[in-house]
């Protein structure tokens, strides 16, 4: 098969599973090493550069990195990447001199951001320090968007939001809070060079079934109810509460209800427990708080007596799969299940809503009434208008919003300066050999056998009494160190130089996970079956190198590699080297956070 092209930055980027899976491509192993080194501020800044909201994401991220983590394959559980990010935020201390400052000179370009959620704020963060005049509009009194309105305070304290929104507001961004944008046309007419729409997916989907109108007083839309709770407009709920829906919003609803007087809170979902959209850990947290999750129940009607909600009835279903593997929920034919309740929270989905965008200003909408947005450039069919976050492609999560924002900022920057939007800037790749002496390596390559450490929680009795009491306590420094040591340093790559290899087999013999094979060449599918350990995980590349004296090839399965460096340690000729690949995605702002073992580089 074709030898691997390791000069393509994507090759080694993919090996860093966590970073590759992260929409914002945060250099995870690098900041985890810094945490282990107690250099929390450095770790925080690496995060801040890449994902803008480390303290917020360290508590609320959907963590696409963790299912991808290699540790979860060689052992059982991934590294607690998300909660280590929180550690960096919790212990960072003084950041004086680290944050960028407002631009000393403006570049004369004006950008409007609609909504003050994560997408808009991240665009502002990228553009303001290089001289753009950025104006952020939001109908609420303070910035943060859904971060502030929808995420319960027991998961994310207000102070963390204030701090991280504050870093962006301090960059000379003009904020127009308490002001609703009701016409995109007039915004464009105001002469902004570009408009970024980061208005989220603000409308909760309703459930129209019999009894909905009659019992309306005790039926609440999940995200609206959460924001009422957030802003203190709602302070209690009935004793018996049903939460409909299986996503993370439903989990926030049920746990909030539990803290506002609901002592009999149930989540009811149509699907099976496994297919629920909520993250596994959010389901776990809800169950830990004494909230049962009842599955395979499809709502039939809201039951009411004398104009007051008294309960709901459900049809019991089972999942059947047709020939194409599509799931159908089929009634079991049993009698309807009745669940009595005082309140219902409907969290069955969110929708986009653009009543304020005129349909005659050159923005095309598709048949789902979503704007047509270029996935690469985030540009709409009106060249001055860009979308990001939930407003672009429907409800996702904060980290996707940030990822969109960086790309949209690059596009806006190019657009304002007449560049080609499709010509995307290359990542910044730094390669550093880790060899220090004959047997010394400049990274900690001793593989720890510890299983994942649990994050300490507040005692449930206290947690359920106060909706603002943060329930997760976070790792302390000792636990954080131990958890950080579980990281395999996947960014320290095994780099092979065939010209130096004498084919002595030392690397093959020492590899603890049988990654390396020297074999006759063959087509990839066939070669994969002939390796020391067959490479059956097709999502992981094999690193193939020809140019050996015997005419064989070196084939290394990246799947299980522990990055322990023993191959390089036992190589007599230095044909294997351990090299750190730091891959930083391009951004508009030249924010300097590059760190080395020696310290922060200027």
């Amino acid at each position: 098969m074709q030898s691997t092209d390791i000069s393509n930055p994507d090759y080694f980027h993919k090996v860093v599973d966590c970073q590759w899976a992260c929409p914002a491509h945060t250099p995870v192993p690098e900041y985890i090493r810094l945490i282990a080194d107690r250099r929390y501020a450095d770790a925080y800044m690496i995060n801040w550069k890449s994902n803008v909201f480390p303290g917020i994401l360290g508590r609320t991220c959907d963590r696409p990195c963790e299912p991808a983590c290699r540790r979860g394959r060689v052992e059982e559980e991934p590294v607690a990447i998300c909660r280590l990010k929180r550690v960096a935020a919790d212990y960072k201390g003084d950041l004086t001199g680290r944050m960028p400052t407002p631009a000393s000179a403006k570049n004369g370009k004006r950008v409007a951001c609609v909504g003050a959620g994560p997408a808009s704020l991240a665009v502002a963060r990228d553009l303001a320090p290089v001289g753009y005049e950025v104006t952020v509009f939001d109908s609420f009194a303070r910035g943060g968007g859904m971060i502030r309105s929808q995420i319960p305070k027991f998961r994310l304290p207000e102070s963390v939001i204030d701090e991280e929104v504050g870093y962006i507001e301090a960059l000379g961004v003009e904020t127009r809070y308490n002001s609703t944008v009701d016409s995109l046309k007039s915004l464009l007419d105001d002469g902004y060079d570009a408009v970024f729409v980061g208005s989220g997916a603000p409308r909760g989907r309703d459930l129209i079934i019999p009894g909905r109108q009659e019992a309306a007083a005790n039926i609440h839309l999940g995200i609206d109810w959460l924001s009422s709770v957030s802003f203190g407009h709602v302070e209690k709920i009935g004793r018996r509460v049903i939460v409909l829906g299986g996503g993370n919003t439903a989990m926030d609803c049920c746990r909030s209800a539990r803290r506002l007087g609901g002592d009999d809170v149930k989540v009811v979902v149509r699907s099976g427990f496994e297919e629920m959209k909520a993250s596994p850990w959010e389901k776990e947290d809800a169950q830990h708080e004494g909230i049962p999750i009842l599955n395979f129940l499809v709502p039939i009607e809201f039951l009411h007596e004398a104009g007051k909600l008294v309960g709901m009835s459900f049809d019991k279903v089972r999942a059947e799969y047709d020939g194409d593997g599509r799931r159908n929920l089929v009634s079991t034919g049993e009698a309807p299940v009745r669940i009595d309740c005082d309140d219902v929270l409907v969290a069955v989905g969110q929708e986009n809503s653009f009543p304020w965008i005129e349909r005659d200003i050159g923005i095309d909408f598709d048949r789902w009434d979503m704007p047509k947005v270029d996935a690469l450039t985030l540009q709409s069919t009106n060249e001055r208008v860009f979308f990001g976050g939930d407003a672009a492609f429907g409800p996702k999560n904060i980290i996707w919003a940030v990822a969109h924002a960086h790309q949209a900022a690059i596009s806006i920057d190019k657009f304002c300066h007449g560049g080609d939007l499709r010509d995307r800037p290359a990542p910044d790749v730094t390669v550093i050999s880790q060899k220090m002496g004959i047997h010394e390596w400049s990274y900690d390559n001793d593989i720890q056998n510890d299983m994942r450490f649990k994050v300490p929680h507040l005692d449930l009795g206290i947690a359920l009494k106060d909706i603002k009491e943060e329930v997760e306590l976070g790792y302390d420094e000792q636990l954080a160190f131990k958890e950080a040591q579980r990281c395999l340093n996947c960014d320290v790559q095994t780099v092979f130089a065939p010209k130096l290899c004498i084919e002595c087999d030392a690397c093959v013999d020492i590899c603890p996970v049988d990654c390396i094979t020297f074999a006759e060449d063959g087509p990839e599918a066939e070669l994969r079956t002939r390796l020391s350990a067959p490479a059956l995980n097709l999502t992981q590349d094999i690193y193939v190198s020809d140019g050996l004296k015997t005419g064989r090839v070196m084939a290394k399965d990246e799947d299980m590699c522990l990055h322990c460096g023993l191959c390089a340690e036992r190589c007599p000729t230095g044909a294997w080297d351990m090299q750190q690949y730091l891959i930083d995605l391009a951004q508009v702002s030249p924010i300097k956070t590059r760190t080395t073992r020696q310290g922060v580089q200027a």
Binding site: I447, C504, D505, D509, K549
Partner: protein, 351 residues
């Protein structure tokens, strides 16, 4: 030397053998030999062979003398018995241990210095007595521990790192073993595990004196141009006479090769050696023909490898001596000290 420990983690798909052990369970601590040493590959081959043969680690005794090669038993079979003897004296210690307990599997690991110089006499007598053992010489042609002087197996004309040729005749341990009556003789190369692992497996299952000469390049002192024991030289001059598989008794035997190309040799314990012939005129059961073949090919500068000779009906030292069946440690005081009456009887029989 390497200070790192090898991670305990292994590939999740790593298979277990009939005893429930993974290959990793047959390992020892990380080697302290020079990185890339051929000896480490031989250790890996021994680990693989023991794993594949489902050997119980505590039923194996590994013995060695002095030298780089003799250090290696520290780095494999961490759960087996070990004895690191005086320089060149491994064969005597092994013979003694074997006499005392014939139930263990004996693995002697030695080098060209330990066996061809200081221990040459020891080597010769253990072989000619037919001690039931696997005797591996990790042969690199130099004294690595003392910085690369030629050893007794270095070929005449081979050059050292400074380009100075060796003027002494080499000792050919394969030829000696054949002359002295070894009943299983093989030669292999540390860089070819496909060949080496089955050879070790066959030797471990063989009853009688099994000898393997394994060329094992010294990456520090004997892997340069002009060396005849370097990776490149051995790969260029390697002439394998056959390829072998060891078939455990209970596995079905299927012939994959045309007649005349494949030969099945039944060993004493019921295992089969399946030999795929490469040199079609080569008969590994004819000792005299083998010796002639080796001399002819050596004269042409070829390194003949493979299973060179096997006598599958061989007996061993215990058979020759008609010794007691049970290991000494299981004999009672009454068995071991039969008393004055028995002595008197014995003396009377000799008068």
């Amino acid at each position: 030397m390497t200070y790192m420990t090898k991670p305990k983690m292994h590939h999740p798909d790593l298979k277990t053998n009939a005893l429930g052990f993974t290959r990793r369970d047959y390992e020892g601590p990380v080697s302290t030999l020079c990185a890339g040493c051929g000896h480490d590959s031989i250790s890996a081959a021994i680990i693989r062979a023991c794993y594949q043969l489902n050997l119980q680690p505590h039923r194996i005794a590994k013995l060695s003398g002095i030298g780089c090669s003799s250090k290696t038993p520290s780095y494999f079979l961490g759960a087996s018995h070990g004895f690191n003897s005086v320089h060149g004296r491994m064969p005597s210690v092994l013979t003694g241990a074997n006499i005392a307990n014939k139930d263990l599997i004996y693995l002697g690991v030695s080098g060209d210095g330990d066996s061809a110089s200081i221990g040459l006499g020891q080597f010769a007598h253990a072989i000619r007595r037919g001690v039931n053992m696997t005797y591996i010489v990790e042969n690199n042609g130099v004294y690595g521990l003392t910085k690369g002087q030629f050893s007794a197996t270095a070929d005449k004309g081979a050059k050292n790192r400074r380009g100075v040729p060796n003027m002494d005749e080499p000792i050919d341990m394969i030829s000696m073993a054949l002359q002295l009556g070894a009943t299983y003789v093989g030669r292999s190369f540390s860089g070819d595990k496909d060949q080496l692992v089955p050879l070790i497996e066959g030797a471990l299952m063989h009853k009688g004196a099994a000898f393997i000469d394994c060329i094992s390049p010294c990456v520090a002192f004997n892997n340069h141009d002009g060396s005849t024991k370097s990776f490149d030289y051995v790969r260029e001059h390697n002439e394998a006479v056959n390829r072998m598989d060891v078939i455990l008794g209970r596995e079905p035997i299927t012939a994959e090769y045309a007649p005349g190309q494949m030969e099945m040799v039944r060993q004493h314990d019921g295992t089969y050696l399946k030999l795929k012939k490469i040199a079609t005129d080569y008969d590994p059961t004819d000792r005299v023909a083998v010796m002639n073949y080796l001399q002819e090919h050596k004269a042409r500068g070829e390194i003949v490898t493979g299973l060179l000779y096997v006598d599958s009906d061989a007996d061993d030292l215990h058979g020759y001596l008609d010794s007691v069946d049970a290991p000494f440690n299981s004999l009672s005081d009454a068995d071991l000290v039969p008393g004055a009456g028995a002595l008197a009887k014995l003396n009377a029989s000799l008068r």
